[in-house]
Amino acid sequence: MDVFAHLFSWIGNHLTGPDGVYFRTTEHVQMTLLATALGALVAIPAGLYVGHTRRFEFLIVSIANLGRAIPSFGIIGIVTPLAINLPGFGFYPALIALFLLSIPPILTNTFVGVKNIDDDMLEAARGMGLKERDVLLHLELPLAAPLIVAGVRNAAVAVVATATLASLGGWGGYGRFIIDGFAQNILVEVVAGAVLVALLAIVTEVLLAGLERLVRPRQASTEKQFLPQLRASRA
């Protein structure tokens, strides 16, 4: 394939500049980190709260189901026109949309992680005189940690993917190569954008899968390792 032969030289010739690979990489990575971090900041405490108190469970179920049903492209599509008057050339519409997108997977996993903890273990901890706060921080949080990180991983990979779609709404990132290259009929630019965003998604997945292993309290069976967690949403 001709396109793939020219891929590396194209990337090599477009590394720097205001529309270069370095700049677009920075944009895409920053957006992913920011949106996922904000999502985690909201979703982890909320999931811990609901999992610990077992209150408002229906809310989590509703958000999880809606998050799966509403297409991620739809979230970009709805948020962008509504938030387009904010400054920053599409930055805030993209951030708001991706932040919203990152919530359901993290929230669901945090909730399920806490909820699935053996009741006997919690009772034993309380029987030993642990306060609710300690139960939450020293028992529920560490035991739920692998699932929480898996939720963050799913959210981050979804954000990397959907950030590409945010470029259709005017924002930058790798999606610019795809959208602009397509508009100008430069196939090599389109393919370069696709290869870069695919690589970023895989790197994100691998890094956070590594973190997931680090926070795992004990080694799970090998079979579980081969069957990755169900991802709540993707783009």
């Binding site: 394939m1 001709d2 396109v3 793939f4 189901n65 809606l66 799966r68 049903a69 509403i70 297409p71 991620s72 492209f73 739809g74 979230i75 970009i76 599509g77 709805i78 962008t80 026109p81 509504l82 387009i84 990979v157 990397v160 993917a161 959907t162 590409t164 779609l165 259709l168 709404g169 999606g175 795809i178 196939l187 389109v190 393919v191 954008g193 696709a194 290869v195 965003v197 695919a198 998604a201 895989i202 997945e205 079979e223 081969f226 069957l227 990755p228 169900l230 991802r231 949403s233 993707r234 783009a235």
Partner: protein, 231 residues
């Protein structure tokens, strides 16, 4: 804020094209999940019987699953161009991980007792598979089909970018003109389609697994019921 942004008259004026796009969306989804299942089913059974195969097939489909949809479509364009084939290959690709994983998990979850009982009754391996293991694995397999369907409905909106997107067409054109009515319409109908298809598959599953009708506990199945189903 959102309610004010909707132009109801626009929706009224476009009912024909909305219906057409909805049908297109449904076609693309059913085709993708159907083909995905036809590929996943033998692979899943093979991975269940030959454990060495599980890791490579899971990693391969997992990598495929991780690639963003827009990127996968683009990477297929040099090979299959701007055709419906490009969309379907991508859509089918995303169903594989979900379907294969659930087929294997479902088969692995079949109690050894049921298998033993069937063998004791003189069933061949093939009979055990088709008359015991697959029926008992059905709830988990169908759960996979439901997740794959909901996921695919969402992904079809993205393929609108190269012209085969069903309801995604409204999101795409609405986004280009910053027209909330259109993006909202596409998103809401797509979500509704996902929820309805999910429910329909659930109902269909209840019909083909009548032995589960008494048990409301989802995956919980009584031992006696399994032996009955096996016979």
């Amino acid at each position: 804020m959102i309610a004010e942004a909707i132009q109801w008259s626009w929706i009224g004026d476009h009912t024909d094209v909305i219906y057409q796009r909805l049908l297109e969306h449904l076609e693309l989804t059913v085709l993708a999940v159907g083909i995905g299942f036809l590929i996943s089913f033998p692979l899943g059974i093979y991975a269940y019987r030959h454990h060495w195969f599980l890791a490579p097939v899971t990693y391969a489909t997992g990598i495929l699953y991780t690639i963003p949809s827009l990127a996968l479509i683009v990477l297929l364009i040099p090979f299959t161009h701007l055709t419906v084939l490009t969309c379907e290959i991508a859509l089918v690709g995303y169903t594989l991980l979900i379907l294969i994983r659930n087929i294997v998990a479902g088969l692995n979850g079949v109690p050894e007792d049921a298998r033993e009982a069937a063998r004791g009754m003189g069933f061949s391996d093939r009979q055990v598979l088709w008359r015991v293991e697959i029926p008992l694995a059905m709830p988990v397999i169908v759960a996979g089909v439901r997740v794959a369907t909901v996921t695919t409905v969402g992904l079809v909106t993205v393929t609108s970018w190269i012209g085969f997107g069903g309801l995604g067409y409204f999101i795409y054109t609405g986004l280009q003109q910053f027209f909330t009515t259109e993006t909202l319409l596409g998103s809401v109908l797509s979500a509704a389609l996902a929820i309805i298809l999910d429910g329909l598959i659930l109902v269909a599953e209840r019909r083909v697994t009548p032995w589960r009708r008494g048990s409301h506990a989802g995956g919980q199945r009584g031992e006696s019921l399994q032996v009955e189903a096996a016979a």
